[in-house]
Amino acid sequence: MTEIGTTKATKPVWPRLGLTQETIVLFIAIAFFAVFGVTLPGFLASDNLLSLLQNVSVLGILGVAMGIVVIGRGIDLAMVATMAMSTAWTISLMNAGTGALTAVGLGLGFAAVIGIVMGILIAYVEIPAIFATLAMSTVIYGFGRLALVDLDVIYVPEDAAWLRAISGTIGGVPLPVIWFGLVALLAYAFLRFTRRGRYIFAMGDNYEAARITGIPVRPMTVVQYLLSSVIAYGAGIITASLLATVNIRVAQSTMVYDVILVVVLGGIGLSGGKGGVRNVIVGTVLIGILLNGMTIMDLSFTLQNLVKGAVLLVAIIVDSLVNPRDEQTAQQGDI
């Protein structure tokens, strides 16, 4: 039990070589890095690498949040909508003259409420996570557009220096990267060393067994979605700070699938109970390199989507080969 999530997360694909999906992905990432470094002009420039790290860090933070949920055999498709709408509300409140502390508090509270509502829908009403969060992402976007935010694109006010400082640099290292590291470290500690972190693994491994053992599975499910929503809010604030704007249209984009891509690529099985923060970091690095390389190659946004979709598909296929399911082991209604 104590070994789960920290050492070999998945069964080796090629046992003789001792490779896990995580190490394979890591090698692929290094290979891509090398190839891009040689072939793409400007890839290795410090500006580019810094922006790569910065872009990746938001994705990585979201990946950590998604990882926590996926390990507990859930999924949070509303994460990006939560991030966009709660941040957009915070910024538009600040634009309207609300104090920064109040605005941030309200935004955080909004995100937390979303997380709790989703958790209750999934744990107590027993709606499958995939549907609850899919529907919630539509609801969050609709509600936010209707009641909280007037514009699609909201600019960060000029006088909010503290907000800009969040994405500054310390000793040449962009702060977002440090935030990512911090979130990853905290999540690692939570999953690895706290009792509730172990509960999440137990629930992902065998939900019924966890319930029978006496683990408070319903409150713990709520905690998972609460955590993911709150972390998503943090990621949203960092994005706002980086771009100086919030675009709520991102709520309807395919960004959430990038997050899933990061998690699945890194080797966290979607059936739960496996993986850890390290898998997220590896997946994040690969996707970061891929996206950055494609941007430098000047591939159109559409083509990038195509590639990402294809990579996601391949990742799911590999996942299903590594964690095979068949008619005898598949769970009814497990889609």
Binding site: L121, T138, V139, R145, I316, A330, Q332, I335
Partner: protein, 706 residues
């Protein structure tokens, strides 16, 4: 009679409580929630929007339905097989673009465009199907990925060729007809939708492939173990879904002729909401084409109305999302709690006032007084039998009886020590009868009326009767055939104890005390079965009267024996013969002196008699107390009565010690001995009747043989 008693009597006579449970037990009740929702939507928006219910409004709705409902039916089939297809929106957009490109830029004729586009849809579906069906990927994420990929492909095509497609315009009349034509004032595509829906419904409910889909969705593992090709079935549903989305795309293209990049965005959420709202369960196995259709009507009405009401932006996704959440929540909770609700409300007791029963004490003056005549009963087949409810003799004196294992066992004359399994029927035989040619007739619980020839050939005579006009549960199927006798003209009269319960839970019928049972007649001339008398309280034993036009039957929970005329001048009349039996009468059979033997399966108890006058008490008991703790009629010890046709009981025979032969459900007099059967017994009892005619047999007497 007190006021509360008469209130209870009238209330339970005229309020049909049992209908609620029967309605809940029907499959179509799943449609009730979406249908109620539809009514609410129509009422709400009909009052808010002027002209909502106009013919023009319906025409618009019908044309939109002709596109969206096609996709819903496709997605519905996928969901029924336990999957999900999120790529329908992208497939729709792809079909829209491809058909416009083919007809506008390349100038293909319509008859070539349509199959080509359908093939594109089928290919996308096949991709999903192979990935999910054969490679066993997760449907949700896989179709998400194909959604992104196909959408990206459409966007790329639009970037490259949108100008070309938009510049040229087809002049094909047929093409415009697809998009804008009417037949008898109804949009073309709506008619096509109706045709597709009917075909899909027939496939799903009547054909092998449809049953495979439902089986896979209902239980994937069982379907696999039953030999169904699960992978191929799953794959096929995705192909169908792709074709349906492509068909919708063609109509959309013909109607609007635009290759806008936002075609079909978010369509998957709309269609998914429609399916779930209509009542197609996530995870598969439950749902129908009609449900997909009704769900689509609701969703389209809501979204169209929101647009016409000029609601601010954001309200449409908000409402759609809330609808989806509500629909899924209702679906999940309904599925989880339906059977609990059903088991709470299905048992519906009524008021029944049993007459005062004569005493059966040892020193009682009535002929029911307990004695110990059965002390010397000998046992046949002790320990070998399990539940000989009834027994019968053939013309060679061999003894036949049934058993819980589903066999008919034959004991050989004259000493009945040797036995063999005569035939295996597969169901629990209750009443038995023999016709004049030694054909054994058996009422088999849960199966119906069966005949076994002396050559051991088994024939099903009847397992259904006419459906009564206003019954909610399907009463055409015979669930609980109990006892029978054969009339002189060869017709078989048999009782069905209850139509509301089956083999496993017939005893619960005692709590209801309602006339749930009936008497049926099977006519060997044309093989038909008709209900001749209905609404009786657990009709059980049946015995022909010698006049050839009437029969005696026992109503077990009502503790009475009645006479029913099925022919002659009094045809159709029922007359009570004895109404105050102190026990629960079971089978009735002829005696050698022209009277009748009656078996009492158990004796009445004051507590249960009292509870029959308190239906509310029995209802609360059924709802709140565990089934094993319910108050049931006592069915463990009884006796045999001898009665005349005018209802006088002349004699009773008891086993006072309860050791020789307790629990009697059947008696048969044969050559100076009385044979006793019991549904919970492990033997047949034999009791000598020294005074009786030692050559008399019921069969010879009845069929006029000597």
């Amino acid at each position: 009679m007190s006021v509360s008693d008469s209130y209870a009597k009238w209330r339970y006579r005229y309020v049909p409580d049992h209908l609620l449970g029967e309605v809940l037990s029907k499959n179509w009740i799943d449609n009730a929630i979406p249908f109620a929702f539809l009514l609410i939507v129509v009422a709400l928006f009909g009052s808010l929007i002027p002209g909502f219910l106009s013919p023009a409004g319906f025409s618009d709705l019908a044309r939109q339905l002709g596109e969206v409902a096609l996709i819903s039916i496709g997605l519905g089939l996928v969901m029924l097989a336990g999957g999900i297809d999120l790529s329908v929106g992208s497939t729709f957009a792809m079909a829209n673009f491809v058909s416009l490109a083919l007809i506008n830029s390349l100038g293909w004729p319509v008859w070539a465009v349509v199959p080509a586009v359908l093939c594109v849809g089928a290919l996308i579906g096949l991709m999903n199907g192979i990935l999910i069906g054969y490679l066993r990927l997760r449907a949700f994420l896989t179709t998400l990925a194909t959604l992104i990929i196909v959408r990206a492909a459409v966007d790329l095509l639009i970037l490259s060729y949108a100008r070309e497609v938009a510049m040229s315009m087809t002049m094909s009349e047929a093409w415009f007809y697809l998009g804008e034509g009417f037949i008898l004032g109804i949009p073309v595509n709506f008619l096509l939708l109706v045709a597709v829906a009917i075909i899909a419904h027939l496939v799903l409910s009547r054909m092998r492939f449809g049953w495979h889909i439902l089986a896979v969705g209902g239980s994937r593992r069982s379907a696999y173990n039953a030999g169904i090709s699960v992978r191929r079935t799953v794959c096929a549903t995705y192909v169908i879904s792709g074709v349906m989305a492509a068909m919708a795309g063609i109509f959309y293209a013909a109607r609007l002729g635009s290759v806008g990049p936002d075609t079909g965005i978010g369509l998957e959420v709309t269609v998914l909401t429609a399916c779930v709202l209509g009542g197609i369960s996530l995870g598969g196995g439950r749902g129908s084409v009609f449900k997909a259709f009704i769900g689509t009507v609701i969703v389209l009405m809501v979204t169209n109305s929101l647009i016409r009401l000029n609601m601010p932006s954001g309200s449409t996704p908000l409402v759609l999302g809330l609808l989806l959440l509500l629909a899924v929540a209702v679906d999940i909770r309904w599925l989880k709690n339906r059977h609990k609700l059903l088991s709470r409300v299905y048992v519906s007791p009524t008021y029944f006032d049993l007459p005062e029963d004569p005493s059966a004490n040892v020193d009682a003056t009535s002929s029911y007084a307990v004695n110990d005549k059965f002390r010397d009963v000998t046992a046949i087949g002790l320990g070998d039998l399990d539940g000989p409810e009834d027994m019968i003799f053939d013309s060679h004196d061999n003894l036949y009886t049934g058993g819980r294992q589903g066999d008919i066992v034959r004991f050989f004359a004259p000493d009945y020590t040797r036995s063999e399994v005569f035939v295996h029927l597969g169901g629990f035989p209750l009443g038995l009868a023999m016709d004049k040619d030694d054909n054994l007739h058996a009422c088999v619980a849960g199966m119906g009326l069966y005949m076994v020839t002396p050559e051991r050939e088994i024939r099903c005579l009847s397992d259904e009767t006419n459906r009564s006009l206003f019954s909610i549960i399907d009463d055409s199927r015979i669930r609980m055939a109990d006892d029978l006798d054969i009339a002189a003209d060869g017709r078989v009269y048999f009782s069905e104890a209850t139509i509301r319960y089956g083999v496993s839970d017939w005893a619960v019928d005692a709590l209801e005390a309602r006339g749930n049972g009936r008497i049926l007649a099977y006519d060997p001339k044309d093989g038909s079965t008709r209900t001749v008398l209905s609404g009786r309280v657990f009709p059980n034993g049946i015995c022909m009267v010698d006049d050839g036009e009437s029969l005696l039957f026992a109503e077990t929970w009502a503790c009475r024996i009645s006479r029913f005329w099925f022919a002659g001048p009094r045809k159709g009349q029922v007359e009570a013969v004895i109404e105050d039996i102190p026990g629960y009468p079971d089978n009735i059979n002829r005696a050698s002196d022209g009277t009748y033997w009656v078996a009492l399966a158990g004796m009445r108890s004051p507590a249960f008699d009292l509870s029959l006058k308190m239906p509310g008490f029995r209802r609360r008991m059924a709802q709140r107390v565990a089934m094993d703790e319910w108050l049931y009629p006592n069915l463990n010890t009884g006796c045999v009565l001898k009665m005349t046709l005018d209802g006088t009981v002349t004699e009773s025979l008891w086993d006072l010690s309860g050791e020789s032969h307790p629990q009697i459900t059947s008696i048969r007099e044969h050559k100076g001995a009385l044979y006793l059967g019991g549904i919970n017994n492990n033997r047949i009892g034999r009791y000598a009747l020294p005074e009786a005619d030692q050559t008399w047999t019921s069969q010879n007497d009845y069929w006029g043989r000597t």
